[in-house]
């Protein structure tokens, strides 16, 4: 749609186009676009009297929260709406005995809602009540912020001191992709661009393995979440350190996932697993920038022949990442993302994500290691956080994502999948294999 012409607040940053192009692709599949969800499972209701004004204050400090995402000419902008939308909703469980079913159904309904891009609020807060638990859902469209930004928004809501809340998003900076690119001379940017193209060509030597039932039409997003005990999480961290070293925790999860997928369907066509993973351009612990996407991309790729040998697979993934960082191939993707932000949304995916050899999706699975959730040390406005869930709409293929997060020394895995391309039984089988892999109990 190109008709609305509301006043511009600010343009999208180049990294936001990656998620916007994904939004468009998902919509083309008759799905709701790039909706994401960060869910806190609470042991009771949070203090609404404190939460409501804090959300209002948030929209005052960050007016983009009420903006409309619109196309004007060839570019996209956050625009001011003529009328303010409500963004905080409560969903009361009608029957306390049906709490779990109600909460699950409400969550899935909210993440599967089809709404036009221009009319949807970029972020919404939903409180879903129940007998012994409540869910607090932060739902946003991916161009609005990345996972770290969502974590920071929750941290903002949990921060009691107003002066400290005002420090969020300080110091104000430009989009970090722009800041990083500004460090290079123009010829260095071109060199990086060429490097990235070569990197992509190398990745495309292998046809990526996909597991989705591509003969079926996507219908809805579903998810399965598993939280490890503190003891199990500690054992997994020890295994990760032993297999991929201090610098390779994400690689350990990715390697385990590749092996679990392979064990589940060893005859699946394709020559290699290819797993992209975003890395944060923010400095660790920085509270800025809050909004927008500030990520670069890396790829972990392993040919089928390596998957049966655990040690060899992890050594390969570790060496691959080291080489990628040594050759600056991680930053090489940034000029490509910047250049691609000038493409139409239709061309963006094929240029950046699809294999140049066969035109299919390069990624076998989406993966995100959110890391340590920082939002609350103890509670969420008076309610104890007893669990986390992460959801994200995904393009099909691959139609499956694994989102990893740690909170209070506990590791959480959220499998997101598009039905009927995948079903819950298949994901549960995958998860059982993943447990064995993570805990190194495969023999």
């Amino acid at each position: 749609m190109n008709t609305p012409k509301d006043p511009i607040i600010e343009p999208l940053n180049p990294a936001d186009y990656l998620t916007l192009a994904m939004d468009e692709e998902i919509r083309q599949e008759n799905m709701p676009g790039s909706l994401c969800g960060f869910v806190l499972v609470l042991d009771s209701l949070p203090d609404i009297a404190r939460l409501t004004p804090r959300i209002t204050e948030f929209t005052g400090q960050f007016p983009l929260a009420l903006a409309s995402l619109q196309q004007q000419g060839d570019r996209f902008y956050w625009c001011k709406r003529a009328q303010t939308l409500p963004i905080f909703f409560t969903h009361d469980c009608p029957d306390p005995e049906q709490t779990e079913a109600f909460q699950q159904a409400t969550l899935l309904h909210l993440l599967n809602q089809h709404l036009p891009r221009e009319t949807i609020a970029p972020i919404e807060f939903h409180l879903i009540t129940g007998k012994d638990t409540a869910l607090f859902l932060l739902r946003w469209i991916h161009p609005f912020c990345d996972a770290k930004g969502a974590d920071l928004i929750l941290k903002y809501l949990c921060t009691e001191d107003k002066a400290q809340r005002e420090q969020f998003d300080r110091p104000k900076s430009k989009a970090l992709i722009t800041v990083q690119l500004a460090k290079y001379k123009w010829w260095e940017k071109i060199k990086l661009f060429i490097k990235a193209k070569r990197y992509i060509t190398r990745l495309d030597r292998y046809h990526s393995i996909q597991h989705a039932r591509l003969d079926l039409k996507p219908k809805q997003l579903n998810y399965v979440t598993h939280t490890f005990t503190a003891e199990q999480s500690k054992r997994i961290a020890q295994q990760a350190r032993a297999h991929t070293g201090l610098g390779g925790t994400s690689l350990y999860y990715i390697g385990c996932l590749m092996r679990a997928l392979h064990t589940l369907a060893p005859e699946q066509p394709g020559a290699a697993y290819c797993v992209p993973y975003a890395f944060n351009l923010r400095k660790q612990n920085a509270q800025a920038p809050l909004l927008g996407n500030h990520i670069g991309t890396l790829f972990a790729q392993a040919p089928k022949t390596l998957l049966t040998n655990r040690q060899a697979l992890f050594a390969h993934l570790q060496q691959q990442t080291k080489e990628t960082i040594r050759q600056q191939l991680d930053y090489a993707f940034l000029p490509v993302m910047w250049a691609a932000s000038w493409l139409s949304l239709k061309k963006y995916g094929p240029e950046l994500r699809f294999s140049h050899n066969d035109g299919s999706e390069r990624s076998s699975v989406w993966f995100s290691d959110i890391g340590l959730a920082e939002f609350a040390e103890r509670s969420f406005l008076g309610a104890d956080v007893i669990g986390l869930r992460h959801l994200c709409q995904i393009s099909s293929p691959p139609g499956i994502a694994l989102l990893v997060c740690q909170y209070r020394q506990q590791l959480t895995l959220s499998y997101n999948f598009i039905e009927p391309l995948f079903d819950e039984a298949w994901i549960k089988q995958l998860h059982l294999l993943m447990l064995q892999e993570l805990l190194n109990e495969t023999n």
Binding site: L246, G247, T249, L251, L298, T321
Partner: protein, 78 residues
């Protein structure tokens, strides 16, 4: 050497409100040095100081503080 390390870590990897208050014995891992940033740091050290650091030595003991990093690097300089 420590100045170069401090500059790289605080400019590129970790946000601290006041880096002058971060001592050479303060915990870098607790301050947020994570997976990818550790890889970046090792690559920076190898390039900047023209040394090769064995993977097996990328441990908490060698990375935890500026002082430990300094000793690790010196151990590989001829």
């Amino acid at each position: 050497m420590k100045q170069k390390l401090r500059h790289f870590i605080f400019e590129e990897l970790i946000f601290v409100a006041d880096s002058t208050r971060f001592s050479d014995d303060d915990d870098l891992l607790a301050a947020g040095l994570n997976s990818i940033s550790i890889m970046r740091l090792v690559m920076f050290i190898e390039t900047e100081f023209n040394i090769t650091l064995p993977d097996a030595e990328i441990t908490v003991e060698n990375l935890q503080t500026f002082n430990k990093l300094g000793r690790w690097i010196k151990g590989h300089q001829t």
